[in-house]
């Protein structure tokens, strides 16, 4: 939110907490965020499939979901959509 929207820290934390449905304190608590990120498909530490399962989004997959959850465009996701969808853009 700082990068894309230029929000100051307090504002950015409040915005993200609102979108994720958690408290501002939770945002820096790994115990809480593991479950939140898993539930919303926002990616995480891999540890060979032991923390983040292979069913959980990782890398750019997670960024697709981050863009949707935070309601911000993510550049590489937009480019992926354009490149991977050249046959039927409506599909992607």
């Amino acid at each position: 939110m700082q990068i894309t929207r230029g929000m100051r820290l307090t504002e950015a934390k409040t915005y993200v907490a609102g979108k994720l449905g958690v408290s501002v304190l939770d945002l820096s608590d790994p115990t809480v965020m593991l479950d939140v990120r898993k539930e919303l498909g926002l990616g995480g530490i891999l540890e060979s499939g032991e923390i983040t399962d292979i069913d959980d989004p990782m890398g750019i997959e997670a960024k697709f979901n981050i863009a949707a959850v935070l309601d911000v465009p993510v550049n590489c996701v937009e480019r992926f959509r354009a490149k991977a969808g050249r046959r039927r853009p409506a599909q992607i």
């Binding site: 498909g41 989004p57 997959e61 697709f64 979901n65 992926f80 490149k83 991977a84 050249r86 039927r88």
Partner: protein
């Protein structure tokens, strides 16, 4: 193929009789063998038809480079043809799946994980 040092084994076979992978259309023909169990001739004819070229073009790197760029099927990302705007890696597989009209497992899984609609019942 089998065991042996890469130059003497894979290097020699690919030069002697290999289609050339994504340098040409080898990966596309391979997908028809794997997913639809098509024999070589049938698989080549199918891919050529979908790409609108002749079976011989499929192992011709010069012909295939243009076709792959045009259809976003992925090209080798080095030499002077570096094009960040071109589809590559899993992006290219989205397009390959569409062009060949076959499901690609990793693409379907990707769609599932990011909530995109699937074109196939897998």
């Amino acid at each position: 193929m089998g065991t042996g040092d890469p130059l003497g084994m894979e290097g020699a076979h690919t030069q002697a009789s290999g289609m050339g992978g994504m340098r040409t259309a080898g990966d596309l023909v391979a997908r028809m063998q794997m997913t639809r169990r098509m024999r070589l001739k049938e698989a080549k004819a199918y891919v050529a038809d979908k790409l609108g070229c002749t079976p011989r073009d499929l192992s011709d790197p010069s012909a295939m480079e243009q076709i792959r760029i045009e259809k976003g099927l992925g090209t080798l990302p080095f030499t002077s043809s570096v094009r960040p705007g071109e589809a590559g890696m899993i992006e290219a597989k989205f397009n390959i799946s569409q062009v060949l009209d076959i499901p690609i497992n990793s693409v379907e899984r990707f769609k599932e994980r990011v909530g995109l609609a699937s074109s196939f019942a897998v």
